[in-house]
């Protein structure tokens, strides 16, 4: 019998939400575990095996010198490395520190800042090591995670579209919130993957999946301004869970005073 592919899950600075998405596949989990050997998944199992691994899922961003070294070791141990979620693909919400002084941050949160060791910036995994595939979202969509796992097992490229949330709205027949209600929405510039979730709940997209491919953020910002969204609000819209993704970062900086 051929050996089962070995799966590992690693965590860096994150909330655990993206790896939890794997355990949230309640219907598929046991079947998946039959096809893959779960060799390293601390949140779920005490059985921890050494590498190398055939596929490593990496959650979280790099924020400490220790983690910057650890991700290189993970890369060495992994035949394929897939990053899961906004933390791993763009630095996550903790990348808000990149726009401020981290020493000041430390003093705000901790009585004894001298106990703390941290990097000035929170960065994506791909800033440190080569990544084979990036799955977006804060959190990732679990159907997309399954697509990645199954594609890996079948040795094909995952079918993850890179168009915008707008396209998903059109597909679902959701009336455009911006046109119909004048709601601020990042749909035109945000990567698909959620299935236009917020618009289906009458909420404007707030950018969990980060920038889509070749987007025109200045045009959207201008449209938002016409809708009466003030400068500070525009800045914050682009500066949240994917603040350090280059397209969003540059756009938010355009709205700084």
């Amino acid at each position: 019998m051929p050996r089962k592919p070995r799966l590992a899950v690693f965590k860096f600075a994150s909330c655990d939400g993206c790896q939890l998405s794997l355990l949230d596949c309640e219907d598929e989990l046991l079947a998946l575990a039959g096809e893959l050997e779960i060799s390293h998944f601390l949140e779920a199992s005490s059985a921890v095996q050494d590498g190398p691994y055939d596929l490593s899922l990496v959650e979280g961003s790099i924020t400490t010198p220790h983690d910057a070294a650890r991700i290189r070791e993970v890369r060495r141990q992994s035949r394929a490395l897939v990053t899961i979620g906004a933390c791993a693909t763009a630095g996550g919400i903790q990348a808000l520190r990149n726009f401020r002084d981290v020493r000041e941050f430390t003093r705000i949160v901790y009585a004894r800042p001298d106990y703390i060791e941290t990097l000035e910036r929170s960065t994506a995994i791909a800033d440190h090591v080569p990544v084979d595939f990036e799955l977006r979202g804060c959190p990732i969509n679990k159907a997309q995670l399954l697509e990645v796992l199954v594609s890996f097992l079948r040795r094909k490229r995952p079918n993850i579209p890179s168009h915008s949330v707008c396209v998903e709205c059109k597909r679902r027949g959701i009336v455009c919130l911006m046109v119909a209600r004048g709601t601020a929405c990042l749909g035109p510039v945000t990567h698909a993957g959620c299935g236009a979730l917020c618009p289906s709940f009458h909420r404007g997209c707030y950018g969990c999946f980060g920038p889509a491919e070749s987007v025109n953020t200045p045009a959207l910002a201008e449209r938002l301004e016409q809708l009466g969204v003030d400068r500070g609000h525009r800045l914050r819209l682009f500066r949240s869970f994917n603040a350090n993704a280059p397209e969003f970062r540059e756009e938010s900086e355009r709205h700084e005073q």
């Binding site: 965590k11 993206c18 601390l42 430390t106 949240s240």
Partner: protein
């Protein structure tokens, strides 16, 4: 991963687990035993810092729920709800009626999901002697499969109300972006009916487990509400007589920054460590459980309080039964509200929010200005409160078992930590320390 070493043969030994498994987030265990006595017991937490309290400053008050949700993917509802309540209290808004009921329903979903995850996938394997739920499923397929089905129900409730299970998108100050339609909630009724039966079956199975003989006289702390088992609201009370409004949280509990841990630890002012979470809620609010849930608890051999942390698995199951019961009640009584939310306009001031996360009280305090800009905030996760009590448990527990073979002692100590379902990812305070190597 784990190791033990003797520096003076026969006299002193160290038991370490560098990366704890089946807990949320990253922590390690360190135990030093000399002459059969525990000299040092530490649950070390080394999540990297994420600085939520710092970068929330300057953000708009309406953003706090979605941003703080990202502290923890396992209990986002707790953060969403505590943030909403805190902001609403600053702005003088009270959410009532069906909107309040829907918030309770959302919270029931999180309890079922999070407790279900812990009971069946993280904690049960300890008792049955497996490394994980997948291995356990081979020997006990029906238990694991039905446990997953129960967990899925919790997720289905969160998805119906919140749009998705991790970081729901439909929650905002004053209520929801869109109120669920009757039929969307009715669709959950069948599974809730099934879950009502299954929780009884599961409790009957779990009570047969072998629990280490270990009880402690904890100071239990949690919320207490005049008419309901606490989820979103209540006063901060303890078994040692604390009874204060949540706005006095900071006077009741003090945080200390200890070097070995990357989280700030809390102690009661004028007291010691306190115990939060299912066992505390149960002890403080047993009388608020509906009679049929009280009966389930009795059938499982539980009295009005439980002081053996290993039996928290039973208490969690009782709380799942309660959440299933409460969810069914809310859905049966649901009428679509006129508006999905009430307006919340900013006004300068300080507000407090404390709600019962699966692991205990999630506390948030915000100060905002007239324009709604956050100028100050504080967030305390229940695990940073429980950390001190976990270390005490370790000391007492391992002290009585110092003679056990290392492997067995290590396994049981890990289990003693997992009793609390620690959520180390609730890392708003957590930072990276160089772990001391002994």
């Amino acid at each position: 991963m784990s190791s033990s070493e003797s520096s003076e043969p026969g006299k002193s030994k160290t038991i370490k687990v560098d990366y704890l498994a089946r807990v949320e987030g990253e922590g390690s265990l360190y135990l030093k035993i000399r002459d059969g006595a525990v000299e040092d017991a530490k649950l070390k937490i080394f999540e990297p810092p994420r600085f939520f309290e710092a970068f929330l400053r300057g953000r708009d008050f309406r953003e706090a729920p979605d941003i703080t949700a990202r502290i923890c993917g396992i209990c986002p509802v707790a953060y969403l709800m505590s943030a909403c309540h805190a902001m609403e209290s600053v702005c003088g808004v009270r959410v009532d009626g069906q909107l309040r009921a829907l918030r309770r329903l959302l919270y029931c979903g999180e309890w079922i999901e999070s407790h279900g995850l812990h009971v069946f996938m993280l904690h049960a394997p300890d008792f049955y002697g497996f490394d994980d739920a997948v291995a356990m499923a081979k020997a006990h397929p029906e238990l694991v499969q039905r446990g997953l089905r129960l967990k899925k129900l919790g997720n289905a409730i969160m998805t119906a109300l919140g749009g998705r299970e991790v970081h729901p998108i439909n929650i905002k100050l004053g209520g929801f972006y869109r109120a669920p339609r009757r039929r969307e909630l009715d669709a959950l009724r069948g599974e809730l009916e099934w879950a009502r039966e299954f929780t009884a079956v599961a409790l009957a199975r779990l009570k047969e487990l072998e629990f280490p003989d270990f009880e402690r006289d904890y100071e239990f702390m949690g919320l207490r509400h005049p008419s309901e088992y606490p989820l979103n609201e209540g006063r901060l009370v303890s078994s040692a007589g604390v009874d204060e409004p949540i706005s006095r949280y900071d006077c009741v509990l003090r945080e200390v920054h200890v070097a070995h841990s990357t989280s700030l630890q809390s102690r009661r002012v004028g007291g010691g460590p306190v115990h939060m979470g299912p066992m505390a809620r149960y002890a403080l609010n047993h009388d608020k459980l509906p009679p049929e849930v009280q009966q389930l608890a009795r059938d499982a051999g539980l009295g009005a309080r439980c002081q053996n942390p290993f039996q928290s698995v039973l208490v969690r199951m009782v709380e799942i039964a309660y959440a299933v019961h409460e969810a069914a009640r809310i859905i049966a009584e649901y009428a679509e509200p006129d508006a999905p939310a009430i307006a919340v306009e900013p006004r300068a001031g300080t507000g407090y929010g404390a709600t019962e996360a699966p692991r205990g009280v999630c506390y948030q305090r915000y100060t905002i200005d007239d324009a709604g800009v956050i100028t100050d905030c504080k967030i305390v996760a229940p695990t940073s409160v429980n950390q001190a009590v976990i270390e005490e448990d370790l000391r007492v527990f391992a002290g009585a078992r110092a003679e056990l073979p290392d492997e067995q002692l290590r396994w049981q100590c890990e289990q003693a930590i997992r009793n609390y379902d620690p959520c180390i990812s609730c890392s708003c305070h957590f930072l990276k320390l160089d772990v001391e190597r002994v």
